[in-house]
């Protein structure tokens, strides 16, 4: 502890240099946290949205899932297949397929079944109001926040051909992408968008989660000869394919984020080597009064560590505040996600920053620790 105080004193004696180093570290770490948070957000959306026992059945010939079109008649065929426990249909209406921002997504769902398939939370009375009224909607809390909607409001979406609905509730959902969505009654949406009897996809809950592959094959075989052949995939595989085009970009920027951490090493290494240069005399005196090499080494590395930790904490905190305050959201093929800064990510940024700082400090610290006292005292003159 006294060494820490000594180090802090030494740093504060000439505060500009360590302050600049800490700032550089903070910038690198905040950048790292921000871009990696986008990647983590995507992963979180995938894990929270994918249910292991649910299959998604969609149009064999349409790879943008929201463009898939299946007849309502498939339901009875699906229900008869062995291993299928429950079936629900959904109709997606979204403003665009390939755009990554500024997307409006409306899902037509079956009110009677939605809660068996999706974990959504809202007051029971609100849900009853939604289920009992055509043209009612419940909206995810992120969608509500983004557009400033409140319960009771009637909304008309110009970008979706004037689709109109009254908001009866705002819900929270376990599946992250659902929180950016608007849910309305399936039949209402079919009529409003002039596609009666059409659904986008079916969610199929299988009785035995181990057997999803076999059930998926059975479904596709069964419907291969119909007017609308299907492709059935586990929900995770379905989501992976849907976001595959964006995940490349996200993973690449996350990689650049790790690269930016190199600035931590260079900034701290640079600052420490200059600090050592200025303090050669002081170190020589320390050695004269009996400091051993490892002690000097530790003292120097402590300074690097302080820079790394202070900068890392500052940077991670800045990224946390910025991401939490902004409502930045990305969507791909109708699935939305927001960057996610978790305590784990903050710790990772902090840990990597401290580690890199110490590693970068090692070379100059090692050199000065080996310094001969007489030479050091002479050099300082």
């Amino acid at each position: 502890m006294k060494w820490l105080r000594y180090t802090l004193h030494a740093m504060l004696r000439a505060p500009i240099r360590p302050a600049l180093a800490v700032l550089a570290v903070a910038l690198a770490v905040s950048l790292f946290c921000a871009v990696v948070a986008v990647d983590r957000g995507l992963q979180r959306m995938l894990t929270t949205s994918a249910r292991p026992d649910v299959l998604v059945v969609f149009d064999r010939f349409q790879s943008c899932p929201p463009l898939s079109k299946l007849p309502a008649a498939h339901r009875s065929a699906l229900e008869k297949i062995d291993g299928v426990r429950d079936v629900t249909a959904e109709l997606f209406v979204i403003s665009s397929c390939s755009r990554v921002t500024d997307l409006v997504a409306v899902h037509g769902v079956e009110p009677a079944k939605i809660r068996a398939f999706r974990e959504i939370e809202l007051p029971e009375a609100d849900f009853e109001a939604f289920a009992g009224e055509r043209g009612a909607a419940i909206v995810g809390k992120r969608a509500a926040a983004r557009y400033g909607w409140s319960v009771g409001e009637t909304v008309s979406l110009e970008r979706l051909g004037g689709l109109t609905f009254t908001i009866r509730g705002i819900f929270e959902a376990k599946a992250e992408s659902l929180e950016s969505a608007i849910l309305v009654d399936l039949e209402y949406l079919q009529l409003a968008t002039n596609q009666p009897g059409t659904v986008t996809l079916y969610h199929v809950r299988v009785a035995n989660p181990e057997a999803t592959g076999a059930v998926a094959d059975a479904i596709d075989r069964q419907l291969a000869g119909s007017t609308s052949p299907t492709r059935t995939a586990g929900e995770r595989a379905f989501l992976d394919a849907a976001v595959s085009s964006l995940s490349g970009l996200v993973e690449f920027t996350a990689l650049l984020g790790y690269g930016a951490l190199g600035l931590v090493a260079l900034g701290v290494g640079n600052s420490l080597s200059m600090s050592i240069r200025d303090r050669t005399r002081e170190i020589a005196i320390l050695k004269t009064v009996g400091f051993r090499r490892p002690q000097v080494l530790r003292l120097m590395l402590l300074e690097a560590l302080v820079c790394g930790v202070a900068g890392g904490a500052l940077g991670a905190a800045a990224a946390w505040v910025l991401i939490t305050a902004s409502r930045f959201e990305l969507s791909v093929e109708g699935f939305s996600f927001a960057p996610s800064v978790s305590p784990a990510l903050v710790l990772e940024g902090l840990g990597l920053s401290a580690l890199l700082a110490v590693a970068a400090g090692f070379f100059p610290a090692f050199r000065v620790a080996r310094l001969k006292v007489a030479a050091a005292l002479r050099e300082a003159d």
């Binding site: 463009l67 921002t101 394919a241």
Partner: protein, 373 residues
């Protein structure tokens, strides 16, 4: 004379100079890649489309994929007096599976006339598809599908959604969205994918006046209810949708620049502080404050420029690096613009990094400087 002095100072503190250059270089490198990415993506949409082309889609459709146009509309529009060419098209993402991995690429179902309407597309090998299971494709399809380029050369086959297609041609359309597309005969695609409607009709107007008339006419006529806009406007709107991401990328690049500048600032400030006495001496000899300050700016800019040269070298090695994106694929093109940006960033970092040192030099009193230990 002064420059020689500063040059020597840089060479004498070699390790420090190189460390600074490395820091600046890293910051500039990451910033350049990010900027190249943002610019390239936006530019590929801005560059796509012929200024005389009119894109006809169904009303209310924001993208071609979402539009549905009856074939009869094409039959009507192809006889429009203002138009010289008409290309009926469908556009959708097809799926390719290899080794359990699913990837997608945009397929454009076309008639041979598409080659004339989209005159940015230039056949480099073979020909455009005419009939049957023929396809031609752009150079970025390999990236989009995650396949080695050799597997997509003329004469090879490609299986999409269970249909085997024969590659009869390769084309390029530098800097446009077409580069990531697969072109196939319209009728074969419509049959294979059970599509009954077109996604769009692209018309080529005779000239600028005819184009305006065409837009007005399509907007008001009663027999065909469609939305018409300039093709270039459509792709420009795509670039617009990308703006929030561009903005985020620019902010990141600015932060990196600042990070690099802080490292440079640190070095130079220490350099000035440790030479305070020397500076006092120089002042006594008759050098003006301003001269000394300019010298330090030079001493700050030089390692920064060295760093940005390193970064430029690294970025040049990444030339042609390609990335999959939601709307196609993107290739990092290292053009003069990006290289210039790299140099400017280096210069900015150098100048910004000298600020602290310059201010200190300007405020330094000669007497105190000489007394400094």
């Amino acid at each position: 004379m002064m420059f020689k002095y500063h040059w020597r100072s840089l060479v004498m503190r070699r390790a420090r100079t190189l460390l600074t250059a490395a820091g600046v270089g890293l910051a500039v490198f990451v910033a350049m890649v990010l900027l190249g990415l943002a610019q390239g993506i936006a530019a590929s949409f801005r560059a796509t489309g012929n200024p005389l082309n009119v894109l006809v889609t169904s009303r209310g459709a924001e993208t071609i994929e979402f539009s549905a146009v009856d074939r009869s509309v094409y039959e009507v529009l192809r006889h429009a007096p203002e138009a010289v060419l008409a290309s009926p098209e469908i556009l959708f993402a097809a799926t390719q599976e290899s080794g359990g991995r699913i990837s997608q690429a945009l397929v454009r179902g076309v008639l041979p006339v598409a080659g004339d309407v989209h005159d940015q597309v230039r056949v480099t090998e073979g020909r455009l598809p005419a009939a049957g299971d023929e396809i031609a494709l752009g150079p970025l399809v390999a990236v989009k599908l995650g396949l080695p380029n050799e597997e997509l050369s003329v004469g090879q086959t490609l299986v999409l959604d269970g249909v085997t297609w024969k590659i009869v041609g390769r084309f390029e359309a530098p800097g446009t969205a077409f580069e990531a597309e697969i072109w196939a005969p319209l009728d074969r695609v419509m049959a294979a994918y059970r599509k009954e409607e077109l996604n769009a009709v692209v018309l080529r107007a005779k000239n600028e006046e005819a184009l305006d008339e065409l837009l007005f006419d399509l907007d008001t006529r009663r027999d065909v209810v469609v939305a018409a806009r300039r093709e270039t406007d459509y792709y420009a709107a795509h670039a617009e949708a990308f703006r929030p991401i561009s903005a985020a990328i620019n902010i990141m690049a600015a932060l990196l620049t600042l990070g690099g500048a802080l490292i440079g600032m640190n070095t130079l400030f220490a350099s000035v502080t440790s030479r305070t006495r020397e500076l006092g001496m120089l002042r006594t000899l008759g050098f003006r404050r301003f001269q000394l300050a300019a010298g330090f700016a030079f001493e700050g800019v030089l390692p920064a420029l060295l760093g940005s040269l390193l970064a430029i070298g690294a970025v040049l090695l990444m030339q042609g690096f390609a990335l999959r994106l939601p709307m196609g694929a993107f290739r990092l093109e290292v053009g003069p613009g990006l290289l210039g940006a790299g140099l400017l960033l280096g210069l900015a970092i150098g100048l910004l990094g000298s600020v602290a040192a310059v201010v200190r030099t300007l405020r330094l009193s000669t007497i105190e400087a000489i007394r400094h230990l």
